[in-house]
Amino acid sequence: MRFKLLLILLVSFYLSKNGIAQNSFGFSGLMNSTNNISSLYGNYEASQINFSQLKDWGFSFIYGPEFSSSVNLNIYSIAVEKRFSNHILSLRYTPGYQKEFNFNTASAIILSDSTRQSLSSKFSYKELFGLGYYFRFSDELQAGFNLRYFSQEFSREIISPVIADTIYLVRENQSEKLGLWKGELGFNYSFSQYFSAGISSINLFSFSEDPFDQELEKFKLKTEKGVMLTFNFSPSRTFGLSGIIESNKSFQIGVNGRITFSNSSVGIGCSVFHDKTQSPFIAGVIPSVNFSTSFLSVSLSGIKYFSDRKDYFSYGDFENNGITNVINNPYSFDKALLTIAFALNTIQEKKVEFADVKIIEDIYPALTENYLNKPFAVATVVNVSDERVNVKPFSRINGLSEELIYSPIISINPGDTATISYFTVIPENYAITKSEISTADFYILTSNEEFDDQIQKPVLVNGVNSWDGDVINLKYFIKKSFDFSISYSKRILSNNKTLFDTLENRLSDFYKTKLIYNSFAEAMVYVSDPRASSEYVQYPEETLKLKGGDCDDLSVCLSSLLESVGVATALVDYQLGELRHVNLLVNTKLSPSEAGLITSNENKYLIRKNNLGNDEIWIPLEATSLKRFEDSWQAGAEKFNKDALENYGLSRGSVQIIDVY
């Protein structure tokens, strides 16, 4: 493929016979064609591709003096470009792309007083505007097409006879205005990140009106066809070498150096050009300096011709050669140019993107704060920019909450991949009992505007009574309807006010436990969980209203009732093969030496240290016993002694104690 392309280029090059002037002439030289620097939008001369780093809107403006016998200031061009995905449209207005010639022709009239007056001719060439379209086939291959409109105005003085009573001659001004459309097509291919090459047409097609006066034909802009080869070699970000060779053997070659700072760069470049129609061999030089940021580029450049440029020259030469290029021809003058280009990006630039998002946990709305500390999903995110970015992740689980939930910000170095955790918040009023497959939208954001990337994943949102089977998470059920538990427990205690008035304070928690348990047991019925496989847990309020539940429900409810009046509890999780059971430990807050106040049997309690390192007596309670307090205590103690202690369940991991607070 590459060989074919090269062959076509070479054949085109050698088949070209006509000596056309250099078309590949840009005011900035080749500065803007290297290192992907977008110093000029709408540069139709040096490249038809012109697929710059433009992301949205681009504007450019060229202004400067031309040094003839006087200094003339010109606005050379104003261009605008707009990108639509892989398409770019360009519009260029070129008020300063013009050249005007005034000649005294060989014809003259002799007036009656014998004075001689030459007849004058005026030729004006203007490039008025251009349209460009570029398409990006891939990162490697791009194509471009542009269409330019020229105006050619020819004006000559002629002598016309007027026949009246007498015949006399009058001097008349005869003028014609011709339009010219020129179209070019070009391709560019990046062989690697260091080297790219392209081919473009010269005068691929042109449409021009014919002058009424055939004599003027020879003064029209020359539009001989040709081919232009371009290359760009940038072995590093600091150096680039570019060149353009035309099929007429005109060429231009330039070198560029560039220093890049954190958010900007400064470049310096110099191009020289050989034009078949101009002398000496290297007709001129185009030095330039450039300052670029991501949205602004300012260039100062100059065009210095090595031959003397005169304000006057031979009409005969002009008549024989004409011109092919409005801004670069044997009659052009030195110039200094200020080029300003800026990008207006209304489209968020993607700096990071998702590589993958994994849902690591189904959503259990009952587990509220659990999701503040434990991610429900993790994402692999890649920094595709060339700068270190702070990534703000956020997500929304549809059907769970309308809120966007932000997760901690993470910094990612350029090109690096990082794992981002997504947390969520369960709304307090969430009450949907049915489980359903929903979707979660994940976003990553690097600025305060639009998100960089977004992905949607299915997620199972369980009902509000669903439990993930981890006993540690039963505490969320315990805490849920605390207000209800407080009023329930306080009612029981207030009914036994006399007892507490006379009771030793140190026995308060033990007797609170005893009273609340007895009242609870009296009202409850043990009901095995019909949804055993789906781990359905009732909230304390539901258990008390339904007057029953399984071991999870009853333990949760009893714990909630006790905790609500300040009695500390812990859940004991027994995992005995396939069978699981949950019961409770209750803190009496008694010291070991006070054990005799509540029991004469050391097998009925255990000692645990509190946060201060003091020993406290805890008693096991079997919430499903639902008999007298003493029976529940005895049943709980026997199970704990056997499974947790004698069989070393605690050290083997088959029994776990989980403090509610």
């Binding site: 029991t599 049997n601 645990r608 240290k609 003091n614 002694n641 070393y648 050290s651």
Partner: protein, 230 residues
Amino acid sequence: MKSLLIILLIFLPVNAFGQLFKVVKVKGSVQGQVGTSEKWIEIKEGNTLDANTMLSTNDNSSVQLVANDLKFNLRESSAISTSAIKQMSVDELLLALALDDMMQAPKKNNDSDAKNTAVYGTNLNGNNGVFIKSNDFGIKRLNGAVQLAQVGLRESAVATAREIYRKYPEVKGITAYRLFFGQILVDLGLYQEAFEEYKSIQSLKLSTKEKEQVEETLEMLSKKIISEEK
């Protein structure tokens, strides 16, 4: 002192857990408490006890038990749970020690809080054991644990001692018992566990002789641990 000990034994079963004990001889007053019952009952010859019976002897009292080929005599002023009269492996002891650590969590160095209760009775410490005559149930339990070690049930003795220290933390300060059970850990080759125990003992109120003993043992254990790591 050796003569005071009634030596039993001994073809110990691998695990006596769950077995029944027959009371073959009772001297003086011996009480028993079954499982989680609140009641203490008088133990008499011919009684059959299950494996979760706590036995407690008073002054000048003792009880002799038999289970299969195992005989055990509980001396005066002692207490023991029949569930502890069993042969444990070192692995089981390590599980028991791990369990003890878990039950003690959050760990705090509160050994210094424990009071030295040697005043409760007469320390009859000797090369082969420790005995303090006391009515304190924690000390009685320690006496029972010592007797387990004396009949060769050293692993069970240490595990029982740890349980006693959890339930009766005030007896943790009696250095004689601590040193006795610490030495068993050394003898069993559990140097790391022994080192931790001796470091804990070091923070107690020690006599000069005890202090020297503890320091010597710690130095020896340090060397053992380092050589084991190599």
